[in-house]
Symmetry: C2
Subunit: 429 residues, 2 copies
């Protein structure tokens, strides 16, 4: 009898009716002959409501207490889900992160999992019960305080438990059918991808596709735990995220996807572009600039330095960063203007990033050229370019993001004849 | 430096503003030179809301999961209270019942405290922090599952922690100024009692006065922990509940209260009266009747058996019980009618119980007589009588309860000249 770990996000357990629906699905999995462990997020808007409450008493609540507060959210959803399963005639026992053996460091609000010791979960499974575990939380190894794992924490809890329990699969449920090779709201012919490698998933996620959090995919890749991303609203197969050697090994008709050069098109409208104009082209200048940015705790993404004009020995350096950090970065850089001696700073938050990702491209020459030609034919102007082994990204004007996504999708034959009626969305925390 | 344990009920922490007010009071106690441990209930209606949610998925939720769910309530209030204290510039750390070392048996929903091992609380105090503890909850010694303590659980948590920490006092805060010698809504001249013994408090509570839960008073009496019942809305002294030898030992003008023969008048409108008519007056009949009632899990209160009429050798037996259990009791007794051979059953839920309580009465003859005369003068008809060492209770028609309370209050000179503008109410769970 295999072990299946299932994770349900906040939108899947938003109210009593949703919880009952999820309970029926869990019971079906159990009746199909599996031992079932369920990781659950807080119901719907609970987390936001709790944060609002905290802010009513304190503008900057202490992190330890904020973690204590927020973990009440999963405590509610997991207990109610256990009740709903019980009401269907099956035994279910809920466990906090601490009880489930999710041991973390002491970094409140963004704790890292150090160890998973799921003895109580194994006992519950051995007794024939379904185990329900609070996602997103653990207990500090050193202080014994309750911690939360931060963004992607529930997905990561599910994968970590699946690894510790040697589960067959970690199923991540949300309100979408799986991973699509482009945003169906932009490109109606976007297709569901049946299988994708950990590496491609990481690139897609890093390039703005709301598929799975990087952190959970990294954990799964490290321990080679297959993830099945699927919808809690249907029984359809979703997308399997596995090691690259397993992608395309199934016999389904869709396995022809394996031959596709690129897996999907990702886009990201959350970034802004900073350009430092007229930087003296001599050693140490770029280092001084990026040291200042790093000291201001700014997460930069793409960096492009143009070849300097020979006549002036001046160059322009551009980088992208999250829009929310633009003001901080501009302030930090302004302070450097005299010492570094650059001519000026430009800030543009009307940009978007469009990327093509696929393991196939490293062995297929001309992919970048085909991408850029497609953009050019669609009248899209490229502002910055960055590439990796399995990805090509461009920065374009925000108004041209949708045109760029559709052009790339068409250029690489990613379309299906059938229009998928789904929402391209993300998993919860 | 002394340790003060304070308990705040749900109405004292109903919203963000109330929590901030409570935080200020806690900080004042700390600044006055005390080490402070605070036990807190769930905010306002949180517990009821959580029970509603549970009932939406399951008509009879499993007790283990209901406990897991309900404990989310205190988790929220304690974390937010710690944040509010933090915002005032003082360190506060919140602890679940389990973290605070509240060890219980495994009876979910009505667990009993077996042990209190407050090592983490002592560490927090030693570090100069204020410790905030979730009331109403603990962890099972055997199953390690989260438990709730049931009615009066938060008050009991506070007293148990005060005992384990060797605190100077356990302060129980609610929205009333203390304990009054009659319900001020019925008798406007009711006076606040400055001191009362554990035993009198137990009698008053058992007779329907909503002062403190029996369980918490019993715990305090066993370990001689003084309780100070007071309002979170004022700085006034409330009512001290102490051992009998300490009642009346203070020097305040109010200590003359010690000389009062009776401490207060309690009343209870929650009961009904069952009368079994025409019971054969021979050995074993009463035993059969009360065995049937006990087997039906009915909590009976007063029992009165009249002398049998010599001519018939038949007697009537009456008892009182909570109204909610009336139907069950009548059904259980009906089944006995043939075997016991009584003539009939009467049920009356339009009754009320009025009691006078006071340690002084055992050494003062004529108390009962004065009480009954006062009732008679007020036109109140007595239906049943029951007495203990420090209490006399009567059952009267429900419509005459208020007249009876006022008559008793006047007969024993309990009135003050000043009318107290307070609500006679209860503490939370």
């Amino acid at each position: 009898m295999g072990i299946v770990v299932q994770k349900y996000g906040g939108s899947s357990v938003a109210d009593a009716e949703s919880i009952k629906r999820v309970a029926r699905r869990i019971v079906e999995t159990k009746k199909a002959g599996n031992q079932v462990v369920v990781v659950v997020s807080a119901m719907g808007d609970t987390t936001d409501d709790l944060i609002d409450l905290a802010n009513q008493v304190s503008p900057l609540p202490p992190a330890r207490e904020l973690d204590m507060l927020l973990t009440a959210g999963e405590r509610i959803s997991m207990a109610v889900l256990a009740m709903a399963i019980h009401d269907l005639g099956h035994e279910a026992r809920s466990f906090t992160g601490s009880q489930a053996g999710v041991i973390t460091d002491a970094e409140h609000g963004r704790a890292k999992i150090i160890d998973v010791t799921p003895g109580r979960i194994e006992e519950a499974l051995a007794a024939g019960a379904i185990a329900i575990v609070a996602g997103f939380q653990g207990v500090s190894q050193t202080t014994k305080d309750i911690t939360t794992l931060g963004r992607g924490g529930s997905d990561t809890t599910a994968v970590a438990l699946a690894v510790a329990l040697k589960a067959d699969v970690c199923e991540i449920y949300s309100d979408v059918d799986g991973f699509f090779n482009a945003d169906p709201r932009i490109e109606p012919r976007a297709r569901k991808v049946p299988r994708i490698s950990y590496e491609e998933t990481l690139e897609m996620a890093a390039q703005g596709a709301k598929i799975l959090h990087l952190r959970c995919v990294e954990y799964a890749r490290r321990y080679d735990m297959p993830i099945h991303v699927r919808s809690s609203f249907s029984d359809k197969e979703g997308t399997w995220v596995t090691s690259a050697d397993k992608v395309g090994t199934d016999d389904s008709q869709e396995s022809t996807m394996e031959a596709a050069i690129i897996t999907g098109v990702a886009h990201d409208r959350s970034q802004a572009k900073v350009t430092i104009v007229g930087v003296p082209d001599k050693p140490g200048e770029a280092a001084a600039i990026f040291r200042a940015v790093a000291d201001a705790q700014i997460n930069i993404d793409m960096i492009v330095q143009n070849v300097s004009a020979a006549a002036t020995s001046l160059t322009d350096i551009s980088f992208t960063l999250p829009r929310g950090e633009g003001q901080t970065a501009m302030t930090a850089l302004s302070r450097l203007q005299d010492s570094v001696g650059f001519a000026g700073l430009l800030y543009d938050d009307s940009v978007g990033k469009v990327s093509i990702v696929g393991a196939g491209m490293s062995s297929s020459p001309g992919i970048s050229a085909r991408f850029f030609e497609a953009l050019s034919d669609a009248g899209v102007n490229i502002e910055m370019i960055s590439t990796s082994e399995i990805r090509v990204s461009v920065v374009v004007a925000e108004t041209q993001v949708e045109d760029a996504v559709r052009a790339a999708h068409a250029a690489f034959d990613l379309g299906s004849d059938e229009v998928e009626a789904v929402v391209y969305g993300g998993t919860g925390r």
